[in-house]
Symmetry: C2
Subunit: 336 residues, 2 copies
């Protein structure tokens, strides 16, 4: 699709969306900063560390874009966009504990226990704050969508834990995890836009569909890029999923074509019963290259980006719709 093609010199699609929504995002950031305050000092310190560190703020941008897309001009999306970001930040904090627990897979712990405790509790605090923000807004429909998404995210995280290290994981299991742990919040962030704007359920469903497919595309692409030699060249960390034993798209593609040796390799390195050696990641990359697993994974991600673009056709045409389309392209064209 022509809309997804992006020239090297174009500004980053997320930055372009950020520019279109600049004053809106300032208002959201002010709420984020204000609402992470607490008389308990360590809470704003820890939350601020994570939130100020930035991240792409893609979820609040989606909420803003999907509200403005339908012509609503008021302040309502600000609190709700902040709420979506808090839910995301809370899950990140709890993920850190999960991923960095340090007693799993024989790696030294990156988080001191003090850090772990803080991560759990500050996550709980931000999660509560997210609901306070929704209550401030007062829409039970939005509360329904975001509380449902929160329950699904938690289920997705548990499912991911159950599939970690298990090479019998099916593609269906994997897609279910991706939908639940990542795409459900993308979908909810988008779906509430038309609802805030007072649109009918058809518009909300279309944006939900866009967000869901965008989220799946993003996550699959992320999972592929975790093994990317190109990303490694850019000085970025790779192999996090590999070290954590996550069974992701590229691994599943390679497993579907694996000979006995390769299957034994994946079973050994992902199960985490013995420590991985220095050369294991390089061997994993070589096996993935042999099966062309990364480009096949990206092709799969692209089918979801295309579905996202298709759902987007239902939205009013204009700069914002174009920017949202570019993000779907970016999700699967990026090299980092």
């Amino acid at each position: 699709m022509a809309e997804t093609a992006r020239k090297q010199n174009d500004p980053h699609p997320l930055e372009r969306l950020g520019t279109l929504l600049d004053s809106d995002m300032r208002a959201v950031n002010a709420i984020i900063l204000g609402k992470m305050q607490s008389p308990v000092e360590i809470i704003p310190q820890l939350a601020g560390h994570l939130i100020a560190a930035g991240g792409k703020r893609i979820r609040p941008l989606l909420t803003l874009a999907c509200t403005r897309l339908y012509g609503y001009e008021g302040d309502r999306p600000y609190r709700l966009a902040a709420s979506v970001e808090f839910i995301h930040t809370a899950t990140l904090l709890h993920d850190d504990v999960v991923d960095d627990s340090g007693e799993r897979r024989g790696r030294p712990s990156a988080n001191a226990v003090f850090g772990n405790l803080s991560s759990i509790l500050v996550g709980d605090f931000l999660f509560s704050r997210a609901f306070q923000l929704m209550v401030d807004d007062g829409s039970l429909e939005v509360l329904r969508i975001l509380s449902d998404a929160s329950a699904i995210i938690a289920q997705g995280e548990v499912m991911q834990m159950m599939t970690t290290g298990n090479i019998k994981t099916t593609f269906e299991d994997y897609e279910e995890v991706v939908k639940a742990k990542t795409a459900a919040l993308f979908a909810a962030a988008c779906e509430i836009g038309p609802i805030i704007a007072g649109e009918d359920t058809e518009a909300a469903s279309a944006m939900c569909e866009y967000g869901m497919n965008l989220g799946i595309a993003f996550q699959i692409a992320d999972d592929v890029l975790d093994y990317s030699a190109q990303r490694e060249k850019l000085g970025k960390t790779i192999g996090d999923d590999f070290r954590e034993g996550k069974v992701t798209a590229p691994v599943l593609i390679a497993l579907s074509e694996a000979d006995d040796n390769e299957r034994a390799f994946w079973a050994r390195v992902l199960a985490g019963e013995e420590a991985q050696s220095e050369s294991d990641l390089a061997r994993a990359q070589a096996i993935l290259a042999k099966h062309d697993a990364c480009s096949k994974g990206m092709t799969l991600a692209r089918t979801y980006a295309d579905k996202a673009l298709c759902a987007l056709q239902a939205a009013p045409a204009g700069d914002l719709r174009n920017a949202l389309a570019d993000i779907a392209g970016f999700a699967v064209e990026r090299e980092y």
Copy 2:
């Protein structure tokens, strides 16, 4: 107060309240069992383990009692009582991770890491479920009260973490922790009763006041009983707070009268920089006995139980009010 006196042969006040609210509690339990289900098997397993194990179900009982007290006869308190119990269970699950982290204070970990991950994520799931139940009910006022309480609980847990092992903790710090981590949810569980029953804010404030003071009384009594020789005789575990380095009421009372030796003892055993020895708990009990710290702690707890009884005077007289009064008595008269 005569209302608080309890004869040895009386049935347990919580059981008596449970009997008064028997059919209501069955309905609440059915919702709890139904809503902890998930296609992800480990979720109902883990949640069921904790929830079925029982506990006293005091919070949902309070919500039911404070609703029926005002003559409301419909089904609305069921979902909300279940929601309150889910919030409590979620915080317990996260507490387990915090308290049993095993890298702190040199004790071996009681939770395998798999258990820790599960505890965090299943806690998140139950917390989300709690909000789904509130959304099902549809009262923004109730959503406000319980989301506020949730944020306060998380802050209280962080505060507790900050005071752990620190003998410079003041009584004000301690009371703030107790209010936030325990009493806020007792208060919210009670406050929503009159709101469900359609009462005015005065009734809600009175029940909030009752719950808050009851919660403080319960927690202080719990903290005293953690050092109780009587409880030890009954075969119950004691010394959990001591091993975790928590600075609680009996310790603060003993610290306020401590000589240099005793102060050095508390600093050493609570700071957790070196492992406690076998005899440390016995020495702690001896120091507490010397300063009469446990009975002074119980006296303090009793002042809060009395405040709870006082607030209760605003509620309609009858069996339920009497039962709630007995619970305030029980909170501070129990030996286990």
